[in-house]
């Protein structure tokens, strides 16, 4: 006689019952916090934080490697600063949430029977990309802002694709857990566990501690982008007031290998490509053109930002003089000979925004060489890596 597969499986677990040792034994985990209700509340919070990180991450990726349909606007000028500041701050705030969630559901790793049926097996299999991905995204992101690269892959590419894998696994997880979460939040279960007293934290106490953790890690770091809190952010990877001319630098002139070329008196800014009058302007010639002063932030992909007052020639004025088309896009190239960020693209909105400058001065002084002397690009609503320093050529398309 042939038995149903499910019966066979159940019989198997019964036979393997004697293997239930260590954490597989009933009653190993005694805290009353390992409940669906605790997991549900933390799960919802994580859903929100992962949603914010994924969306802001996609935005940052899209700006730097825009698909043909994606036209990132140059306004509002602060949008990228907020979006990327949120990406990093939310990632940091997710650390306590994720640790608390994994702790809450840890006993489920040893649930008995380990597999009930096909759906259960597939759901549990999906936990590997979920847990591996979540921990990896946070750990690699934290390492990246600490400028520590103990791996062989290129961080942005790995972080980006790992995010897709993690979000896929999260979709499976939501599908599996939505009913449990809804039930737990309606409070039909676990009421008994609230009234017990075993000398540990109550659920409210536990969630308060997790919330306090979120607050503490945020306050300790967010001053790297929220300037008024910089004195409090003793663990901020950057201090928006520390650096040459009073704000941070990501790539120094020395590390970009431009220290010699940048101070050559023969330096010229070339405006070439789809123009009727190609230009080759010296620093003096640029300085004698009408200058514009703007207050714009450097907003780094690593989540720090700092505002400064920039003075220079509006890019669209240069395009006008060169006779470029009024909807031309531009590619800005650096003296830097190698490196991923030696060149940045300006779509038509960025190229023609009145505040996009070829900046010559910052905070009233000529640019420090680490800030891009003799001239750098600065524009509203752009990632710091796309505010090309040590400009050498504007290629009009």
């Amino acid at each position: 006689m042939v038995r149903e597969p499910r019966q066979t499986l159940e019989a198997l677990w019964v036979r393997l019952e004697r293997l239930r040792i260590g954490p597989l034994k009933e009653g190993t985990f005694t805290s009353r916090l390992h409940t669906e209700a605790t997991a549900a509340i933390l799960g919802l919070a994580l859903g929100v934080s992962f949603g914010i990180c994924f969306t802001t991450g996609l935005i940052s990726h899209g700006i730097q490697q825009p698909p043909s349909w994606f036209l990132w606007p140059s306004r509002p000028f602060n949008l990228y600063r907020i979006s990327q500041g949120l990406h990093v701050a939310t990632g940091i705030a997710t650390v306590p949430l994720l640790l608390a969630k994994l702790w809450t559901v840890f006993p489920r790793l040893f649930a008995w029977p380990p597999i009930e049926n096909t759906a259960h097996a597939l759901e549990r299999l999906s936990l590997l990309p979920l847990v591996g991905g979540s921990v990896f995204l946070l750990a690699s992101g934290l390492n990246n802002i600490a400028l520590w690269y103990p791996w062989r892959f290129f961080f942005p590419a790995a972080h980006y694709w790992a995010a897709w894998i993690t979000i896929g696994a999260l979709i499976v997880h939501i599908g599996a857990k939505a009913p449990v979460t809804a039930r737990a939040l309606r409070g039909r279960r676990n009421q008994a566990s609230l009234s017990e007293h075993a000398g540990g934290l109550s659920r409210r106490g536990f969630l308060t501690a997790v919330g306090a953790s979120v607050g503490v890690v945020t306050l300790a770091t967010v001053g790297q982008t929220v300037r008024p809190l910089r004195w409090l952010s003793v663990l901020g990877p950057r201090d928006p007031a520390v650096g040459p001319q009073g704000f941070p630098v990501n790539k120094t002139a020395r590390s970009a290998g431009v220290t010699k070329f940048a101070i050559e008196p023969t330096w010229r800014l070339l405006v070439e490509g789809a123009v009727t009058r190609p230009l080759a302007l010296s620093l003096d010639e640029l300085g004698s053109m009408e200058q514009r002063r703007v207050n714009l932030p450097i907003a780094c992909v690593e989540g720090w930002s700092a505002s400064a007052e920039w003075t220079g020639v509006p890019l669209r004025r240069l395009l006008e003089v060169a006779g470029a088309s009024p909807d031309a896009a531009v590619s800005a190239e650096s003296l830097q000979e190698r490196g991923l960020y030696r060149k940045s693209d300006l779509n038509r909105l960025h190229a023609h925004d009145p505040d996009t400058l070829v900046a010559l001065r910052v905070n009233g002084e000529p640019l420090h060489i680490d800030h891009g002397f003799p001239a750098r690009l600065i524009g509203p609503n752009r990632p710091g890596v796309m505010q090309t320093k040590w400009l050498s050529r504007l290629q009009v398309q």
Binding site: A111, A119, S126, G132, V135, L142, I145
Partner: protein, 148 residues
């Protein structure tokens, strides 16, 4: 928490298919971008992340909590747990900075602070706050956060 956890229903199967579709998209992305993603190295870090948590960090926390149960009196234990949750979270989040293995040589504006001192300051503040709450719990049992 045991038995009958198998997911079911149309929504689950739909999410399963959609979710694995996205996972496969991500894996294909890793493979197509192999020059930059170094798939073997990335896979090792990805799986290693899950193992580091499940086999190392989590067991350590549970063993530590068991030891703590023996040495900390019941009445203040909730407060101590709360303080340790905050302290542990901050430590984990700050670890790459505090270890000080990263950096940008020649760039004084990168990682400009003294991170070990920063962590000590935060942990000290957490310890003082925890101490005050524990003292309150000890002297005034009715007011503990464990009353709900």
């Amino acid at each position: 928490m045991s038995g009958h956890h198998a997911p079911k229903g149309k929504a689950f199967w739909l999410c399963l298919v959609a979710g694995w579709g996205v996972i496969v998209f991500g894996i294909l992305g890793v493979l197509a971008d192999a020059d930059r993603t170094d798939p073997t190295n990335l896979a090792a870090w990805f799986v290693g992340s899950a193992l580091a948590h499940d086999l190392l960090l989590a067991p350590l926390v549970f063993v530590f909590a068991r030891w703590l149960k023996r040495i900390v009196p019941d009445r203040v234990r909730p407060v101590i747990h709360g303080g340790l949750i905050v302290a542990g979270s901050v430590t984990m989040a700050a670890l790459p900075l505090v270890l000080g293995r990263g950096g940008a040589p020649g760039n004084a504006s990168a990682l400009p602070r003294n991170y070990p001192a920063g962590l000590v300051f935060v942990l000290g503040t957490v310890a003082v706050a925890t101490g005050l709450l524990a003292w309150r719990a000890e002297t005034n049992p009715g007011s503990s956060s464990d009353s709900d």
